[in-house]
Each structure stands twice: as structure tokens, then as C-alpha cells.
Symmetry: C2
Subunit: 405 residues, 2 copies
């Protein structure tokens, strides 16, 4: 399954979810900036949040609501254009007020509402603008692809394209659908990213089961990507299960298929996020192999993926393997440099820590593709990881130097 | 004392050192690329090296020579244009061969020669070009400012200006001089940088005394700077003491004055290196205060100084304190965000983790200066650090995307 297949082609809409979005005037551009999901009664949920200790108000509130509601969520309210972060007690109140108003209008409990915000940090949330539009937002909720499309647009910030992926698989006489949408283009780093990800399915599962599956899927996807090494204050991945397919996760053969499908959808979304990274010209699939363990492989992958010298060399499609080797050398693992092999595309360029003759033109062309593979073998063990990252271009700098002023 | 005062005005040349440099054809540009220091008999030495596990041949050889010669060094041979790194056993042999040839010509032991290389990684050292020029190099050695000037030029790579600092202080009826020269403009990171630093003094001191003083001075200077967070494979700081002033370090009152002077010279050189950072528009003096210890303060300073989002905001002179707060939040210390205050210039912009009203135009103007101050108070303790770092500009990306191809 490819990202393109999912973002451009048919989306499998799970039963039990309605969507809506509108422009509430939070974004100065007048674009869609307020979005809602309504979930069927009985919907269970699990979420993962940023590991940054500075967290936005909706992350705090979302965590509390999930716990109070014992993993039962009936609505998701998202705004873009304002992160509601570093806004103090007023920010928490603003978030709670929005949730209360959604709950009142829908006739549910406040803790059954899950909030998210994304956008600029440190500016008070314009609560009145949001509250004024809630009735209209709720009224226009529909379980249609068109409504989902508007929802996906409304959660975008610096994203240049919508990100979604879905899959469907048979179970007994019925079918289970899984659909995910995401936003994120910068501040993308392992341990989640400035990313909001919403995953919807119609399987029946307990919150605990969902949590376990979600953790595993994130480890294989959102925790293996990096654009700029920054960790956002608002990162959230939410998985909702409506139970409307009538099939239970614990039914024979379902769990394994579901786990695989969830992981595939998450990996597709993660790759879409990286591909849309700010100013990205090249997506680099970095394979770190022969590590002593998965953590060690990740540690080396991150050191390479966060090296400005490596990332700028990639921007120039420059097969400068010396910078990669130097990044491995400072990654903090007990390395023997004489065992390191580095490949660009299919060519070996560094063998036993020493440069070897290779076709530079071919390596340059390999790196000039929009997607390219770099392989680093450490000669220490049998663990490996595939890490998806990007080059660092002058365009990234321009985008991020001009953000708020 | 300021960098300008030292780099542009009188340099105090310590007694006992001669310098020379020439173009050996290692750099394609035909610029000076081979340099020599001759030190008087009895000169003692101490050195610090990169902590990268991938190290260049001259770092390995330099370490062995210092140890074999029991801290007695009579000559320093440096080439630019080639790092002699990731060159395997052939690279080690090449380095040893150069040292042997220098030793033979000077009539000293091979281990009394200290080698350095800086430039591109993974390309064999053109030993013949170097060896062919050694007699001429040694013959032209002079204890003059003009010769020192050529030495300082010859060790440069992407540097746009020479870097030197010196000081002199009285001790009894005599005087002690201290002079330092440096190269470095990118790959600049705590734990030394792609930096070669040579410090010369005419005090009399044992290698052990020098080592202790050098460690302390580096902790306060070269280990508190960062341009791009990359650690080089060749970093070396070498301190040579010729004893020619006739004054001993252990003489009354000398050690304290010397330690202070060494630290001042190192700090001046460190700031010159940062100011010459590739593509740098703004040098940022980052004060992290109220930390539980110096290590904690450094950890936070590094998280801020390495955040691409923070560095690009600085490039745009953008008072985006939210990105600074987010970097503090992910620095890994047990932070209470509600106690964090952030200042830009003299203005407080974030109080107790929450944005406060401030004059944005003034903050923007403060950040637009070539030097600006950012202060982060953690509210956890009494330790602080001053860390010198830079913005990240599109120019940095251009310089580093076009390096080798």
C-alpha cells in the first residue's frame, strides 16, 4: 500500500463517524480552522501525546478527559491557527469552555469531548470566535467523504497537502474499516511530531486494547521519522473505535490483521508527513543495520538524521559519506569505526570506515531522486531500523525564519 | 578584552616559537595549506581532542606522540585542505611519514612532532606534495608576526577571517606572553568543534599542569559554543609552553594570573569562531540561569542552541519565545514549565511559562543586532552558563550543500 493510493483514491469510511469543518476566523487567511468529529455512542478511545514537558492546554485537558471518561469519547473538537500553548490557566479554561459548549450542544458529558489545537504558541485562544460557531459546526456534521475532506483541510497549518490513508479487511461475513488523517509538516521528530493524527475504525475494542495497538503502531511509524528534530508541545495521536462493524477485536484472527492494518495506515501517514516537510526536496530512507538492539539503531539513525551537515549535503545531492560517518561517530554508541559500511542507493561508498572507489555521478543521481536510500551497517549486532527523514534546504530556513513576524 | 582588540591590534609573541607556511598544492585554490611551528628545546605541551569516536589519523598519531614524548613537543605540522580522516591504515602511515620527515630535517625525534589536518574527509592525504615542501617550510621558519600571520592563514578552510588573541602580564621583573590562533567556522559544537586551536606561551610548566589549566579554560570557552551541533573528527586544542620567559607557573601569584589569561584568550578565540560561523548573521549569547547545576544549564542551553526552529527564528530576528520554551521543554530536565522566565535583550517576554505583553518592535530590533542576549531562567537552582551560539540562515545551507560536489 502506498501513500498515494490512499490519499488520492477511495477512502474507506468506517461506520459511526461524522465530520464537519468551517472557518471561524482563527486563521487570518480565512481558511477552514475549526473541525469536529462526532462518534457513535459506545465509541472507545486511546491516545498518545507529545513527550515535551511544555504541553498545550488541550493536551492536558485531553489526557484528563480520556481518564475521567474511562476511554469513552463521543466528539473531537480541533482548531488550527492557534496552539493554545503557554497560555497559562486562561488557556486551560478556554479549552474547557469549548469542550463544555460542545458537550452541551450534543447532549453528552464534557469529558467525552476530546480537544486539539495547532498553530502559533503563546497567543490566547479566541474562545468567542470558536463558541460562536459551534452550533453551525455541529449541525453540518455528516458521515460523508466530502465532510471528511473538509475536516482534513481544517486541521492543516503549514501543510501543503492533505494527508489521509485507509484500509478495509474482511472478518467473518463482515468488514472492518480503518481510516487515518494527519497534519504535520515541521517540528517533526521521533516521540511524535507537531502532528495531529486521528484514526477511526469500526471494530469493537476496549480502551486498553486500543492503547497497546496504538503504541506498537506508533513505534513503527511516527516514532521513526524526523524532519527537524524539534518536538512539538501539541502532538497527539488519537484512535477511536466505534464498534459499529459488530466485529470484536478479540474475535478469531481479527487482532493480528487489525494490528498490521493499523501499522500500515500509520506508516503511510508518517511518510506523507515527512514528504510534506517544510522545504523538503528529498525524502531519505535511512536504514541503520547490524546494531546491538533497536534502541541503538534508533540512536544512530537520529544522530545522522539530525546532523545539519548531513542534511545540507543531502540538499545538494552530495554523496559526502564522511559527514554520515562523523555523525555515527558522535552518536554515543560504543562503535568500532573500522566495522562501519555505508551505502548510497545500491553502491557501497565506505567500507570498514574507509572510503572506497564508487561511481560518484551515480551516487549523486541516486541522491537527487525525491526518495533515496542510505544504508549504514554498524557491524555490531542484528537489529535494524528504517528511519524516514529529509534533507534541509534553504527553503526550510526561509519558511521558519518568516513565521510570526 | 575583546576579540577585535586581539585580532586586529598588537599580538604579543611569546619567546621560543617560530612559524612558517606555504602553498603545497593540497588546496585546489592554490592558497596556503601547509604550516609549521618550531618550538624551543624544553617546550612542554598538553592537548585536548574531539570526543567523536571517528577520529582522523593525526588525532591518533598526536595522542601517541604526546604520550611517547612525555609531553615534550618541538614541532607542529599542520595541513589544511585534507582531513586525513576515514583513510584507514594508509592515512596513519601517511601522517607518520610526514612527522618522520619533519623530525629528520629538524634533527629531533618523530614523537616530538605534533600533526594536525583539516579539510575534506575520506580523501587520501597527498603525502608527496607535503614531503616535497618540508625543507622549504622549515627553512623559512621565523619568530615574527608576519610568519605567524601566514601560519594563521594556512590553517583556514571555510573561515572568512583569521582568528587570534593574545595577552601579556608581568610576573616579578619579567613578563609572560600568551598567544592563541584558531581555525573553525562550521561543525562547531560543544566538546570542541571542527576547530584547530594552538596556544603558545613562554611560561615554564609541566605537561600535567598545562593539561589541568587547558581543561578548565576549554570548559569555559570552546565547550560553551555551538554553530551547528556537529562534532568534528579532527578537533584539537594544543597548548605549548616554551619556558623561555624564565618564569615558572608555580612562582608566587603566577598560576592564578595565567589561568585567567588563558581562559580569556580561549573565550576570545571561541567567540571569533562562532562569529565566523558559516552563514551566521547573529551571534546569540544565551544565558541559562537558575539551573540545579552547571551540567543541567548546559543541557538546556544545548537543546535551545540546536533547535532548528529556534535558530531559524533568530535568522528572521523573530521574537518567537514559544519555540525557545518548547526547546526547554524537551531538553530532558525535570522542568516545571510554570517557573520558566524568558528574556529577549532586557525585556521579559515569557513569565511563569506564559507569554506576557512586550514591545515586539523592540524585541525584533534587539534580535536584529549582530550580537544579542537571550536569557532563560529555570527557577530550579543557582547554577548558570553563558553559551555562545548563532542563528541558522539559508546561507549556511547553501555553503554546506555545495561543499564537495
Amino acid at each position: 500500500m502506498t501513500a498515494a493510493a490512499h490519499s488520492r483514491n477511495i477512502l474507506h469510511l468506517p461506520i459511526g463517524f461524522s465530520f464537519s469543518a468551517l472557518a471561524a476566523g482563527i486563521k487570518a487567511s480565512g481558511r477552514l480552522d475549526l473541525a469536529l468529529v462526532e462518534a457513535a455512542p459506545g465509541t472507545t478511545a486511546a491516545a498518545l501525546f507529545t513527550r515535551n514537558l511544555v504541553v498545550a492546554a488541550p493536551v492536558d485537558v485531553g489526557r484528563v478527559h480520556l481518564s475521567k471518561a474511562k476511554g469513552r469519547i463521543r466528539a473531537v473538537i480541533v482548531n488550527s491557527g492557534n496552539a493554545n500553548c503557554a497560555t497559562g490557566k486562561a488557556g486551560l479554561k478556554a479549552c474547557q469552555q469549548v469542550c463544555q459548549q460542545v458537550a452541551r450542544t450534543l447532549g453528552i458529558r464534557s469529558e467525552e469531548v476530546f480537544p486539539s489545537s495547532t498553530g502559533i504558541i503563546g497567543v490566547p485562544l479566541p474562545t468567542e470566535k470558536i463558541v460562536a460557531k459551534l452550533a453551525e459546526l455541529i449541525e453540518s456534521c455528516e458521515p460523508t467523504p466530502a465532510a471528511l475532506d473538509r475536516f482534513t483541510q481544517a486541521i492543516m497549518t503549514t501543510d501543503t497537502c492533505q494527508k489521509s490513508a485507509s484500509a478495509r479487511f474482511g472478518a467473518g461475513t463482515s468488514e472492518i474499516s480503518l481510516l487515518g488523517v494527519a497534519k504535520g509538516a515541521g517540528m517533526i521528530h521521533p516521540q511524535l511530531a507537531t502532528m495531529l493524527v486521528y484514526l477511526f475504525t469500526d471494530v469493537s475494542a476496549t480502551p486498553d486494547e486500543l492503547k497497546r495497538l496504538l503504541s506498537d503502531a506508533c513505534d513503527q511509524s511516527f516514532n521513526c521519522i524526523s524532519v527537524d528534530g524539534d518536538t512539538s508541545t501539541n502532538d497527539t495521536v488519537l484512535l477511536l473505535a466505534s464498534a459499529q462493524s459488530g466485529i470484536q477485536l478479540k474475535d478469531s484472527g481479527v487482532r493480528k490483521k487489525f494490528a498490521k492494518t493499523l501499522s500500515d495506515v500509520c506508516r503511510s501517514l508518517a511518510q506523507q508527513v515527512v514528504s510534506d516537510g517544510e522545504g523538503v526536496q528529498h525524502v531519505v530512507h535511512l536504514f541503520v543495520e547490524q546494531a546491538k538492539g533497536r534502541e541503538e539503531a534508533l540512536q544512530v539513525a537520529r544522530a545522522i538524521a539530525h546532523s545539519l551537515l548531513v542534511k545540507t549535503a543531502w540538499a545538494g545531492a552530495d554523496p559526502n559519506w564522511g559527514r554520515i560517518l562523523a555523525a555515527v561517530g558522535r552518536s554515543g554508541i560504543a562503535l568500532d569505526p573500522n566495522r562501519v559500511n555505508i551505502y548510497i542507493g545500491k553502491q557501497i561508498v565506505c567500507k570498514g570506515g574507509v572510503g572506497c572507489k564508487f561511481d560518484e555521478t551515480k551516487a549523486h543521481l541516486d541522491l537527487a531522486h525525491s526518495n533515496c536510500d542510505i544504508r549504514v551497517r554498524l557491524g555490531r549486532g542484528q537489529s535494524s531500523v528504517e528511519f524516514v527523514t529529509t534533507d534541509l534546504t534553504a527553503e526550510y530556513v526561509r519558511i521558519n525564519a518568516d513565521y510570526s513576524t
